[in-house]
Amino acid sequence: MSGLLFAEQCLNGLQFGLMLFLLAAGLTLVFGIMDLINLAHGSLYMLGAYLAATLTQATDSFLSGVALALCATALIGMLLELTVLRHLYRRDHLSQVLATFALILIANEATRAIWGVQPLSFNVPAALSGSVQLLPGLSYSAFRLAIIAVGLLVAALLYLLIGRTRIGMLVRAGASNRAMATAMGTNIQRLFTALFGVGAALCALAGAMLGPLLAVQVGMGENILILAFVVVVIGGIGSVRGAFVGALLVGVVDTFGRAFVPLTLRQFLPPALADAAGPSLAAISIYILMILVLLWKPQGLFPSRA
């Protein structure tokens, strides 16, 4: 395999991994701190993508469209927390599964009612539609580079927020021992609502950035939700640092699997068979990665609970 192809796939893996991180960061905090299995997390990602596509068209600017979509999705997320999810924290995981499954149904159908059944067209902004010459012979999509930049920026901001601020301290306290954090006087209720808003905004950001690359359609949330859960479990529930490492691992393994497994299989299988088996083996590789990590570290890479 050529070095340039390898470099390009590394960038693709990094880009996909960073977007997975945006999804997994919110999911792992909600899971770790509120002990809530939120299947509707993927719905916020879908809503974010739809809102970003619509608002971009309405304002005629990608930047303002995404910014407005972020705010709107954060509001929806906080509203969801205040009305429904708040009442689920004390319930068992299975009730949470049923309730958030119901939320998926509602969100999907509402989306169909508002936007119709056809996938929405969401184009890469004109300013970023070209490609950038990174190395001689290696040009890379400007938009994908922008995604990497945004992902790294958000990761850095989250690192500072959680590691260096008072709010972050409360979040970490909540993740490692919720009862003790409450006993020490933390207003958990308000913290949870705010946290949910941040998680929803991160979902919307991922949806807005991935929307032009993937299809903006109903059901997009469920496809990526499972990957986000895999990332959370690999990284360790409640750990944002774990989600970052896990997301990059999953992003790179998935991308490499898709790119190189069919090529490798072609060496000793008929091309048609190799092309059919390749994507499946790539998808399987993520689950194998998860099981290997869990065999090695049953609590994930960075267990946050004491």
Partner: protein, 317 residues
């Protein structure tokens, strides 16, 4: 729900009344010209069989599996592949292919269970999901068996002296199998095995300290549920004359889990209640509302908040 003693004595016979109603259903549907619904009723019972087998794991044993569709799909593909490869031979016989589907489900469950049951909680959920998804992708890539298009069967399995191709006959066969499965699950629940499983669900460490082979009990339950799900898959493949990888996708596992929670965790009739409620709502609501899934979601939310023990729990306080 409490009721006067003379009523509750009669109330105890309602399973028999339900069985009688189920026996008469094809006749009634025929009179009203709703023959199409015979297959629909068959589908409800097959899904109820699948949900009941999962309920043994989740409700009785506390093992929340999100990969139960793997055994369902494996059972269906067993029947389909036997028919494809050895059509016209005894392999087409339900007497051979359905028990084989159960065996495949059981063996797969033994393998997956032996690994996943070493984990707990969310890690158990995710590892069962992982194995089911791997199987899903394997069948997705098997172009010789249809790949993602799935695979059609030319006809249903054969039984000596009985024509399973007739929808009403197939209905009665499924009804008989489902009734036997429920009887078996009921006996199991009252037996020592069921009591130990419930004990493990409540407090695994305590049962371990009392000297029970916790892992072995859980594994046996997992294998039993896998075999039952394999049978459900064989029946579903027969009903539709079609199998596809989507039968083992995680969303299928999720829907069955939703049926179990909706119907009533750890309750004998929970699987049937949940499968019937969800499938009936999906059948009826679209006739009245264009965006019926919103209402379905609201109904499910209402169950979570107002009937925390599920539908089967409403009638037993």
């Amino acid at each position: 729900m409490t009721m006067p003693a003379q009523y509750s004595r009669w109330f105890a016979y309602w399973p028999l009344a339900l069985l009688a109603a189920a026996l008469l259903l094809p006749q009634l549907l025929g009179w009203f010209g709703f023959d199409f619904y015979v297959s629909f009723a068959t589908r409800i019972m097959i899904m109820a069989l699948l949900a009941s087998s999962l309920n043994l794991l989740v409700g009785t044993g506390g093992m929340v599996s999100l990969g139960h569709a793997a055994f369902f799909g494996a059972g269906a593909y067993t029947v389909a592949i036997l028919a494809r490869e050895w059509g016209g031979t005894p392999a087409e016989s339900a007497l051979l292919s359905w028990p084989l589907a159960m065996l495949v489900g059981a063996l797969l469950a033994a393998f997956i269970g032996a690994i996943c049951l070493r984990t707990k909680g969310v890690y158990f959920i995710m590892s069962t999901l992982a194995f089911a998804q791997m199987l899903f992708y394997v069948f997705l890539s098997l172009k010789s068996y249809g790949g993602d298009d799935g695979m059609s069967l030319t006809k249903r399995s054969t039984l000596p002296g009985i024509d399973l191709g007739a929808d009403v006959v197939f209905y009665y066969v499924v009804l008989a199998l489902f009734a036997v499965a429920l009887l078996l699950l009921g006996r199991l629940d009252r037996a020592r095995f069921g009591k130990v499983l419930r004990g493990i669900k409540d407090n695994e460490l305590r049962m371990e300290s009392l000297g029970f082979a916790v892992f072995r009990f859980k594994l046996v339950a997992f294998i039993l549920a896998g075999a039952m799900a394999g049978l459900a898959g064989a029946l579903m493949g027969n009903l539709n004359n079609f199998v596809s990888p989507n039968m083992m996708h995680w969303e299928q596992s999720g829907v069955v889990l939703v049926m179990v929670i909706l119907g009533g965790l750890g309750r004998l009739w929970g699987g049937l209640a949940g499968a019937a409620a969800l499938l009936l709502l999906e059948e009826i609501l679209p006739n009245f509302l264009p965006h019926w899934q919103i209402l379905l979601g609201v109904i499910l939310l209402a169950v979570v908040f107002f009937a925390p023990r599920g539908l089967a729990g409403i009638f037993r306080a």
